[in-house]
């Protein structure tokens, strides 16, 4: 009887050891599997991020060639007219803008202050090109800390370029562009409203249908692509809306609203 008890006890211990051994084996394999899956996921995310960055780099550096061409033409026009001072001023501003453009093309974000300085330079050049047919106003909320808040580089310039070339360009009288920087209640968030009193997006669309309209379509696509990539990256939460002012009030022109939140610094 004692022997039988011993036999069953030993067999029970053996079964227990084997079962525990199997449990240990499965836990080890499962842990390793999870570790590897996590590693693969991280690699995938890193690759995706890298791809996003290279796409963003490419998009950032897409300064409309028309702008460069038009600016150089305008400088040539002033030179031909022997307006040395204006052409010199134009050339200086243009070269400064180009320098900033190349500098910012290499960085992902700049401060709001830098962006505002950049768009001022851009609008000054456009003002020279249009021989003061453009007026612009930049309003900044006093509570907005422009040195602390960041913005993805070259975010506003393409929108302003649309306003100039497709809104105000077709207007006979002087056009006005108004850029408002506003605070919001959310942390690390602000709003940018770009208003122009040009012909409005509805008329522009109509006009583009009659002509080729590729430039406008191109820059809008670039903006949309960039916003998608920035939102997908998880670092930014940017909402974008564009309306014809006649749809909202009695005004003419286009109104663009951007609400930007930097999630990476939250």
């Amino acid at each position: 009887m004692d022997n039988l008890v011993l036999t069953y006890t030993l067999l029970f211990i053996l079964v227990l050891v084997v079962v525990l051994g199997m449990v240990f084996l499965f836990i080890t394999f499962n842990n390793r599997k999870n570790q590897l899956l996590q590693q693969q996921l991280e690699d995938q995310l890193a690759a995706q991020k890298k791809q996003y960055e290279s796409e963003l780099n490419a998009l950032r550096s897409q300064l409309n060639p028309h702008f460069v061409h038009n600016s150089l033409n305008a400088i040539q026009y002033y030179i031909q007219r022997n307006e040395v001072e204006i052409s010199e001023d134009y050339l200086t501003k243009f070269s400064k803008l180009m320098r900033l453009f190349f500098d910012y093309s290499r960085t992902k974000t700049i401060t709001l202050k830098e962006e505002i300085a950049f768009i001022k330079k851009y609008l000054d050049i456009e003002k020279l090109r249009f021989e003061d047919k453009i007026e612009y106003y930049i309003n900044i909320d006093k509570s907005l800390d422009t040195t602390d808040l960041n913005i993805p580089t070259m975010m506003i310039q393409p929108i302003l370029e649309n306003a100039v070339n497709h809104g105000i360009f077709h207007k006979t009288s002087t056009g006005t562009i108004e850029v408002d920087f506003k605070t919001t209640k959310e942390e690390n968030q602000y709003q940018i409203v770009i208003k122009d009193d040009g012909i409005g997006i509805n008329k522009t669309k109509k006009h583009n249908k009659n002509t080729t309209g590729t430039a406008k379509a191109h820059s809008s696509t670039v903006i949309a692509e960039r916003l998608d990539i920035l939102n997908d990256s998880g670092d930014w939460n940017i909402s974008f809306s564009i309306h014809d002012r006649s749809d909202i009030d009695d005004g003419t022109g286009t109104i663009v609203q951007l609400t930007i939140q930097n999630l990476s610094e939250l």
Partner: protein, 210 residues
């Protein structure tokens, strides 16, 4: 019907089921290392049934079939492990040890009438080492992410359970156990059913996941 007869039926049924399942799924395993599992099952079943035939119909007490199973089936399993581990040194050591232990036993025991227990013990250790190498290699490889869908993993688990039982129960603590025929057959049937079930599951995975 005695317990021994019941367990024997269960054991042979599970063995033949595994063989038939492997044959049915021939197309899914013919170009894979699991082909060697089919050969293992074929050899084991044929030799085992030969032993049963001679024992039942001729009253023979020949153990030659058991010895041949120990030798051939384990050589096949070693080669199956080689197909996964791809380690020629381990294959060479495994085969050499299997033959050496078998020949040493042959000098000390009667090949026809006695089971080569000690050779079987050494061979079991060799197979456990092969299992260890295989599992270690799998653990370090990227294939570990789908380990539960890997046929060889499950077959190895079956082999581990079967061989651990052989090594511990029938060799290391044999003297401490009072193994009645009923207990003996219950243990050997349980581990055999686990082995053949793991083989069936492994072949099923081979069929399902390629």
């Amino acid at each position: 019907m005695t317990l021994v007869e019941v367990t024997s039926y269960i054991l042979y049924s599970s063995m033949i089921t595994a063989l038939l399942y492997a044959v049915i799924n021939w197309n899914h395993i013919k170009n894979k290392p699991e082909l060697w599992i089919l050969i293992f099952l074929l050899v084991t079943t044929v030799l085992d049934l030969c032993g049963v035939y001679f024992r039942l119909y001729h009253g023979s007490k020949l153990q030659v079939f058991s010895n041949l199973i120990i030798l051939i089936s384990n050589l096949i399993l070693s080669y199956w492990f080689y197909k996964h581990i791809k380690n020629k040194v381990l294959l060479f050591i495994s085969i050499s040890t299997i033959f050496l232990s078998f020949f040493i036993s042959a000098f000390q025991q009667n090949f026809l009438r006695e089971i080569f227990y000690y050779a079987n013990f050494i061979i079991s250790i060799i197979l456990l080492i092969n299992v260890f190498f295989y599992l270690y290699k799998l653990l370090l490889s990227d294939n570990v992410v789908r380990y539960n869908k890997t046929p060889a993993f499950w077959i190895s688990i079956g082999i581990v359970i079967y061989q651990i039982n052989l090594v511990i129960v029938f060799f290391l603590i044999q003297e401490k156990l009072k193994l009645t025929t009923n207990i003996y057959f219950t243990i050997i049937t349980t581990v055999s059913v686990l082995l053949y079930s793991s083989i069936i599951y492994g072949i099923k995975l081979s069929k399902d996941y390629g």
